[in-house]
């Protein structure tokens, strides 16, 4: 927390319909670290994560107040360019959702949208990102096959490669391993750890053990509020708040 | 108030089932309700559905009377179709009152051959081939549905409805409407659609296109009977208006009717029943024709 924060959330409130989902959130997500968001089901973890890249905007009936500064710029400023903000952040969802096209096109999709048309340049990018996620050797002979042919674990890595191809600064993951078997899970976890050299990473997870394995910082959310935020070991092993202690007990038992 | 009708010892009873042409349906309902006043024990079941349906029903014994508004096909006669004519209506050629040559057309009339060349042969394409100078093309309208009116009009030329040229429009009112909206239009209609049954005058917008019956190139006094519906029906009844395009409408039985209530009903229709005909836009049969038809049920 010595560096300047990468994402700084200030007095964020989110309502959906007349429900108050997030309640006065204030947090600074550190740069080039892994931060995990934990909390019971329905506490607002996903909502918080989605507020970072303005995906919340598409939710029916949502109203958002407060600020989210990314690199010092308020993304909820009406003048802010939403596609630009989103390009900065790669999203990895719970289950992999490959786009309905070939493996190659999945990775090339983002760069193409942002104007890269040259075949050579694209080829290079695709290869680079598939290598970064360890997929290259597994798929290099069938780049034109449909992405849905891959196993779930491979699909999830493909989605990560796809996100990395638009050179984001931040990676957001929402329970990105919960559909995977242990082998695939540990590959993804290792990837997260290796990627934090270049990216800031925010993960939502239910598995406290995973949070411990991969993250530097932990945010505990409960009932739409941030209860505790601090370095991993502190929050998991030595929580300050009663609520946190209660929650992480399940992890210790 | 009338004193209550003392019913004579009434032995006319039973059920009469009727189905068929829409053209005859309303007047048949009227006749039935009047007949019921005289013979309360008779029950009527009347249903509309088209001439073909009525004929099919009658020939297959499902109903007693089929209402027929079209010619009976030889194949139907073979199956035992037996027709008694009960009233008439007529088809009249029409055009738009806004036609630039209207005045000349009314004065000169149109000959049968000219109609034939317009409606069937398609050799007359422009209004100035009939009268006047304006070379406006003739827009022909015809009935799209198989209908008595179309058939009768075609029969005037010895043809069938399918031989008529023109844009098909659904139903009598549709055809009237189409001509009413198009200054260059020509069509034909059952006369009830051409006259207002209240004022007895022609409706605005469309006009009967007079037929030059004797072919002398102008409408003589005895050819000029279109101003009111009553004049026209009189002309139809005494034959000054050609037939076709006037036509007889009939009851169709499977074989000669025997059941007492049926015979009584037909007799009623051909006698007292005729007085309801004209107020409803139909044309009464001539005396001679009534006698001829009555014979068919005796």
């Amino acid at each position: 927390m010595t560096k300047t924060p990468h994402i700084s959330v200030q007095h964020l409130n989110v309502h959906i319909g007349n429900q108050h989902i997030l309640n006065d959130i204030n947090i600074n997500i550190p740069d080039k670290k892994v931060t995990s968001i934990i909390g019971p089901s329905g506490c607002g973890k996903t909502t918080l994560l989605r507020s970072f890249n303005r995906l919340l905007d598409n939710t029916p009936g949502v109203s958002i107040t407060g600020k989210v500064l990314v690199d010092g710029e308020d993304i909820y400023d009406p003048k802010a360019e939403v596609t630009h903000i989103r390009k900065k952040m790669g999203l990895l969802s719970q289950r992999p959702y490959p786009l309905p096209m070939s493996i190659y096109d999945n990775v090339a999709y983002g760069p193409r949208i942002h104007g890269i048309r040259k075949k050579q340049e694209l080829d290079q990018l695709v290869e680079e990102q598939l290598k970064a996620t360890g997929l290259w050797n597994e798929v290099k002979d069938r780049l034109n096959a449909s992405a849905t042919r891959l196993s779930i674990g491979q699909q999830q890595r493909l989605c990560l490669a796809r996100g990395l191809a638009v050179s984001p600064e931040i990676i957001l993951g929402d329970e990105s391993t919960s559909a995977l078997d242990p082998v695939s899970t540990s590959i993804i976890e290792d990837l997260f750890i290796s990627l934090k050299e270049k990216y800031s990473i925010v993960l939502v997870t239910h598995i406290l053990r995973q949070a411990r394995r991969v993250s530097d910082y932990i945010v505990f959310v409960y009932g739409g509020k941030i209860i505790e935020f601090g370095p991993t070991e502190d929050v998991l092993l030595n929580p300050k708040e009663e609520l946190t202690r209660e929650y992480v007990k399940g992890y210790i038992s | 108030k009338r004193p209550p009708v003392i019913a004579p010892a009434d032995d006319v009873e039973g059920t009469i089932n009727i189905s068929g042409a829409f053209a005859l349906y309303p007047i048949t309902v009227k006749w039935a309700s009047e007949f019921k006043k005289l013979h309360p024990k008779v029950v009527f079941n009347i249903s509309a559905g088209g001439a073909g349906k009525g004929i099919t029903d009658a020939l297959s014994g499902l109903v007693d009377i089929g209402l027929a508004s079209r010619d009976i096909d030889p194949s139907e006669v073979k199956k035992g179709a037996y027709t008694v004519y009960v009233t008439k209506d007529a088809v009249v050629p029409t055009f738009n009152t806004g036609n630039p040559d209207a005045a000349q057309l009314l004065e000169k009339g149109v000959k049968r051959d000219q109609f034939l060349n317009i409606f069937v042969n398609g050799t007359i394409k422009s209004w100035n081939q009939l009268a006047g100078k304006v070379a406006a093309p003739i827009h022909i309208y015809t009935r799209s549905d198989a209908a008595g009116a179309g058939e009768t009009w075609a029969k005037y030329f010895g043809k069938k409805q399918e031989d008529l040229l023109g844009v098909g429009v659904y139903g009598d009112p549709g055809l009237a409407q189409a001509v009413k909206k198009d200054p260059a239009g020509i069509g034909y209609n059952n006369l009830a659609y051409l006259y207002d049954l209240k004022t007895r005058k022609q409706v605005a917008g469309v006009h009967a296109l007079p037929i030059d019956v004797n072919g002398n190139g102008k409408i003589d006094a005895n050819e000029n009977f279109y101003s009111t519906i009553d004049d026209l029906t009189a002309a139809i009844a005494d034959g000054r208006y050609p037939s076709p395009p006037a036509r007889n409408l009939g009851f169709l039985f499977k074989g000669k009717p025997k059941k007492k209530e049926l015979v009584e009903f037909v007799k009623y229709v051909l006698s007292d029943g005729q007085k309801f005909v004209e107020e409803n836009g139909y044309i009464a049969l001539s005396k001679a024709k009534i006698q001829e038809e009555l014979k068919k049920v005796q």
Binding site: E81 | S19, P26, N45, A48, G50, L62, P173, N190
Partner: protein
């Protein structure tokens, strides 16, 4: 970036225009019918049968056609439900994964769905003549039932498809028979059944071609299944072909009545659907 934004804006505007046209057509139609029909509307139209032949007479109303239509559409929908619920259940729950067979059945019902109502009407009439059956309320109900069965089967089939397989498994693993499972599923899809009823009733009450030859047409309210019955769409059709302007006006008023009936049914069913969705999460 500018170009990408402009493209989005362009299509957004197109979408808005399209949505306005599609919804606007509703107002245009209802508006036209109201404008034409309202002047001729009166209480008699709703409460009396026609006097002196609907075609000539200007008295009375079209109660016979309103009742006839309700009889025909109601009867056909009930009869159709009685047949199509078992069929939909059978296809989905009793065919034990014989995919080819159940898919073929679905195609068959799709084809039946596509068969024009005029063919059902004409075909129904052929059968009636064959069996020496006069045009009657019963004939109309049967022809319209043929018409709505594929609609009902298809809709129910779709709705049943949305029930999670796990729910069926849950019932089965409690030892339920397939029929008992089917009952749970039926409960789950109650709102869907309402949609199906609405669709079928709407189609049944508005269809002309299937009743044209089968139900007959009469000025009286039918008192038994064997009497001919008038229906609203046919009454409209006939009245509009009358030479008398006033009767044509009554045709528009009848059209207005039919439109209102259909709209009321639609709105009612939307409300019912909401009410019955209680157990759905």
């Amino acid at each position: 970036m500018r170009r990408r934004k402009a493209e989005e804006l362009f299509f957004k505007i197109l979408m808005l225009i399209a949505a306005i046209i599609v919804c606007g057509s509703f107002f245009l139609i209802v508006g036209t019918i109201f404008a034409k029909g309202l002047p001729y509307m009166n209480l008699d139209m709703l409460t009396k049968t026609p006097g002196g032949g609907f075609y000539i007479g200007k008295e009375g109303g079209i109660l016979n056609a309103i009742i006839g239509s309700l009889y025909v559409a109601g009867g056909a929908t009930i009869l159709g439900l009685l047949i199509s619920i078992p069929v939909a259940i059978f296809i989905n729950m009793y065919m034990n994964g014989k995919k080819f067979l159940s898919d073929s059945l679905r195609v068959a019902f799709d084809v039946l769905f596509g068969i024009p109502s005029i063919v059902y009407g004409a075909f129904g009439f052929l059968i009636m003549v064959y069996f020496g059956f006069r045009a009657s309320l019963l004939g109309g109900i049967i022809a319209v039932t043929l018409l709505v069965i594929p609609i009902l089967v298809r809709t129910l089939d779709e709705v049943i498809g949305t029930v999670p397989l796990e729910l069926r498994d849950a019932a089965l693993s409690l030892g339920a028979t397939r029929w008992e499972m089917a009952k749970v599923v039926l409960r789950q899809i109650r709102p869907g059944i309402f949609t199906a009823i609405l669709l079928s009733f709407g189609r049944a009450i508005g269809d002309v071609a299937s009743v044209l030859f089968t139900a007959g047409f009469s000025d009286n309210i039918p008192t038994s299944l064997h009497e001919p019955a008038a229906t609203l769409p046919l009454a409209i059709f006939f009245q509009l072909s009358s030479p008398v302007e006033e009767v044509q006006g009554r045709g528009y008023a009848s059209a207005l009545i039919l439109t209102i009936i259909v709209l009321v049914i639609t709105v009612l069913s939307e409300i019912l659907i909401k009410k019955f969705s209680k157990h759905k999460s």
